[in-house]
């Protein structure tokens, strides 16, 4: 947990003993983040109180998903993963398919990390972090083949649905990738499309405005991601917070199908040697992700 309390040393004398200790701890945390984390891990606990080791449920932060609360979107979800909050909305529009994929629609996922969600982002065009995350999210949706793009076709070569899946981070407390993917998948699950007909004579597509004829998307597979950080080549920290993230050597993200538990992809950022046994570390992560799936799958 990072606290950005600006403190006035002069006033600390008026604080009670425990308050003074907390203040010292937070100053120490800011000055020596690495040592701070090391001391916690030596006690087998993480700074936010989670237990170390990645098998117990308590190694992860609480997750909650709230779908369909945004009426201007065709589908939406709000995901909280510990302090990290991501809201995602799906807007459906109509476009002409590309020439070489006449029967396909479009799925356009983007993640925005506005200046609001963390002091490290500035207002303006997407930051590097946002670009990387958007790319990874797109990749995740594509490799898992979440829904066949052919199912978005209205009239081959003439009209198809474009699903803009826009996620915005409200509070950035680490592991935004897992939270954003969960939000995107949940929002897509929540999305319904109106019945659309293409009129060949006028070349226009019209939709029925009746709620009755709205249909959900033909989602075939729902991927969920579980990310782990590796600290000091030996500690696996599932679901890292924004305080832990900059201190990690390696990040591993495991993508599994939420319903079957089948492994979809494993991605790793940074060197994984695990004191000479990187494979073992990786296997531990995959196993842990499998167990975590049972918890998260309930929310989709």
């Amino acid at each position: 947990m990072t606290t950005t309390t600006t403190t006035n040393p002069a006033s600390s004398s008026s604080l009670s003993k425990p308050e003074q200790d907390a203040l010292k701890a937070s100053i120490f945390q800011r000055l020596h983040p690495r040592v701070y984390l090391e001391r916690f891990l030596a006690e087998n606990v993480r700074p936010d109180g989670r237990s170390l080791g990645c098998n117990a449920d308590s190694a992860w932060r609480d997750v909650s998903v709230n779908v369909g609360s945004i009426s201007t979107a065709d589908g939406s979800a709000l995901v909280r993963l510990g302090g990290t909050t991501v809201v995602c909305g799906v807007k459906a529009e109509i476009a002409e398919p590309e020439l070489d994929h006449a029967g396909d629609g479009f799925l356009v996922p983007n993640l925005d990390l506005p200046a609001m969600c963390s002091p490290r982002f500035k207002p303006g065009p997407p930051s590097e972090d946002a670009q990387v995350l958007s790319d990874r999210l797109n990749e995740a949706l594509v490799v898992s083949n979440i829904l066949p793009l052919t199912s978005l076709c209205i009239h081959p070569g003439k009209a198809a649905w474009v699903l803009y899946v826009d996620a915005t981070c409200i509070n950035y407390d680490g592991n935004v990738f897992d939270a954003a993917l969960l939000a995107m998948v949940a929002a897509l699950k929540n999305t319904t499309l109106p019945k659309a007909t293409f009129d060949e004579e006028t070349g226009r597509t019209t939709c029925s405005s009746s709620r009755k004829f709205r249909t959900p998307l033909g989602i075939t597979r729902t991927p969920i991601a579980m990310s782990f950080g590796v600290f000091d080549s030996k500690h696996i920290l599932p679901d890292p917070t924004s305080f832990e993230e900059p201190l990690l050597d390696t990040t591993v993200s495991i993508l599994v199908d939420s319903s079957s538990g089948a492994l979809i992809s494993v991605s790793q950022l940074g060197l994984l040697d695990g004191d000479g046994d990187g494979d073992a570390l990786l296997r531990t992560c995959i196993a842990s992700a499998g167990r975590r799936r049972d918890v998260v799958a309930k929310y989709i």
Partner: protein
Amino acid sequence: MATQTGFDRRRINGPEESHPPTFQVEEDFESRRWKLGEPRRTRKSADIRPIFLQPGLIDQANGSAYVETERTKIACAVYGPRQSKNAAYNEKGKLNVEVKFTPFSCERRRAPMRDAEDRSIAVAIHQALVPSVRLELLPKSTIDIFVTIIEADGIEGCVASGTVAASTALADAGIEMLGLVISCAASVVGTEIWLDPTEEESRSSQGTLVLSCMPALETVTSVWQSGQIKIEKVLECMSACQERCIDVHSVVAQALVENL
């Protein structure tokens, strides 16, 4: 503006052009539509939408607030006061307001670019807040207020709720203020005054007005009016808004105190 073009290599891009779906007009549309002279459908003319206000939702920020009035959903974070970057010396602090709509916040998808409307709402919120913040105590500093509109139901509602959220977030950040700023919108529909109009209601009104004030000091910090309203109606609107602001003020104060 029917098309959304603009390739941006920093984002995942869709097709070059796409249109929002056009819907068939339902048969009973005309008969169901609200017509001038009919009473307000959803609530009484002087009623406002229920307000849900939660300070301190964004723990990364120095102060924050989330506000929801039925469909309008706004999150606001305050960072600072922090050292002004590359700005000339200023005896007073600077209050910087940035407003951002999420792409899915309106009926039509908003391309994720800064547009004129963002700025116009930011200016309105800035004006409402600036008299309340004791910037004279913060030389060389900047307070950044970031407002994200998650869902919008009427520009006036966004200005009013955004102001309330921002003022709450400022209080949550422990920044010195003269008082809390509360804001309320009114619209003139026929001969009636409807408070806190929705988007549809403000569209069918002759004019709208947003009044921002500090009820604790009984002063007005901003008035933002557009449309066509007779002077005496304007004055009436202002009184109605002010009265409602006093009610909202107690809600906000309560939420703040509970959060402490």
